[in-house]
């Protein structure tokens, strides 16, 4: 059986434009990390960026086939110990039921459906040091409607790589 398959995924030229931003934010922080919406780029990077220090990482995904493609059951990897990384399925895409309590160091907002993302941004506004939001280009604001919620943050920083990534914080100035 082939080790590879095709999957419906949207990937821009040079996919993973949020990676350089995530790398910088991960580099200046050391607390727990929350990933809302798993991805071909963010999940492997975050998984390994948290590995050496066993930094807590919790990933949520609502697409069943995508969630199931991220399996951690290879017995040869038991020695690596992946207890620091929890992967959770969001039943019926009901993000309201996802427990976001506690204080997070870094949160990546990249989940589906897109218009839902701003709700989690609002829910997390006062319990996250840095929120990293993907796909924040003004031309896509008709869909995501981020801009209405961005003013609830004291600090904001935008990348200059398409698709754009924005970092928000109510706790720290952002100079990436």
């Amino acid at each position: 059986m082939s080790q590879y398959s095709t999957i419906k995924a949207h990937m821009h030229i040079g996919g993973g434009s949020h990676l350089p931003v995530l790398m910088k934010v991960m580099d200046i922080t050391d607390g727990p990390v929350l990933e809302l919406g798993m991805g071909l780029f963010s999940t492997p990077y975050l998984h390994w960026a948290c590995y050496d220090k066993r930094r807590k990482l919790v990933s949520y995904e609502n697409k069943k086939d995508f969630y199931e493609s991220f399996i951690f059951n290879d017995r040869r990897e038991i020695v690596n110990g992946y207890d620091y990384h929890e992967v959770k399925f969001v039943e019926n895409s009901d993000w309201d039921k996802v427990d976001l309590s506690g204080h997070w160091s870094v949160v990546l907002i990249d989940h589906n459906p897109g218009p839902r993302r701003r709700e989690e941004i609002k829910r997390l506004a006062n319990n996250v040091d840095y929120i990293v939001v993907h796909d924040t280009d003004p031309k896509n604001n008709w869909y995501y409607k981020y801009e209405e919620y961005f003013p609830i943050f004291k600090h904001r920083w935008d990348s200059n790589i398409y698709p754009r990534t924005t970092v928000l914080s109510n706790f720290y100035e952002i100079n990436l």
């Binding site: 082939s2 080790q3 590879y4 398959s5 095709t6 999957i7 419906k8 995924a9 949207h10 990937m11 030229i13 040079g14 996919g15 993973g16 990676l19 350089p20 790398m23 071909l40 780029f41 999940t43 492997p44 990077y45 998984h47 390994w48 960026a49 590995y51 050496d52 493609s69 991220f70 399996i71 951690f72 290879d74 040869r76 990897e77 020695v79 690596n80 992946y82 790589i161």
Partner: protein, 170 residues
């Protein structure tokens, strides 16, 4: 859009990521990637993007090349190695800061490991645990280097080799 991707995300296939990040942070010259992948190529591309650091990737699989070529940019060159003929690529006529070796077929890797021994500050090779040596034969190439550091915290192991840098502080 439909893309060719791994059927399952196998964390072990990215066990070299912590080493790539570490070495790129202490070295600052051109980077050579032999064999592209869903783990290494995005990470290397975006690490090099910040300072437009030169990155040259080679791939012999047409499927992987189709994905990797989406990263072609002013600082990142991506090349197809036709018919897996790795002998044709010119990797010895200049000095590299970092070389990452992860190409196919596996037994070929030791050839490039030996070829770049005097042409790179840091050479990073994936899957260097002893149980894989029957296939990749890295250990035949290790004596070509003065220094070696093994990252054994995560399986599969990753090794860094050098004839120019002290690796004792990694």
């Amino acid at each position: 859009m439909i893309y060719f991707v791994p059927k399952h995300f196998k964390p072990r296939e990215g066990s070299h990521i912590p080493v790539l990040i570490k070495i790129l942070s202490i070295a600052d010259g051109p980077v050579l990637e032999l064999g592209t992948g869903f783990n290494s190529t995005p990470v290397l591309h975006w690490l090099c993007n910040e300072n437009k650091r030169e990155l040259v990737s080679y791939e012999s699989s047409p499927e992987y090349f189709e994905v990797a070529k989406r990263y072609i940019s002013d600082f990142h060159q991506v090349n197809l190695v036709e018919d897996e003929n790795w002998d044709t690529i010119d990797i010895e006529s200049r000095h590299w800061s970092v070389v990452f070796i992860d190409h196919a077929p596996g037994p070929r890797r030791v050839v490039e490991l030996e070829r770049v021994a005097q042409h790179a500050d840091y050479v990073i090779v994936h899957d260097t645990e002893r149980r894989s040596s029957w296939h990749r034969r890295y250990r035949k190439g290790f004596p070509k280097y003065k220094e070696r550091w093994d990252y054994t915290t995560a399986y599969p192991y990753t090794s860094v080799l050098s004839n120019f840098k002290d690796l004792s502080n990694l």
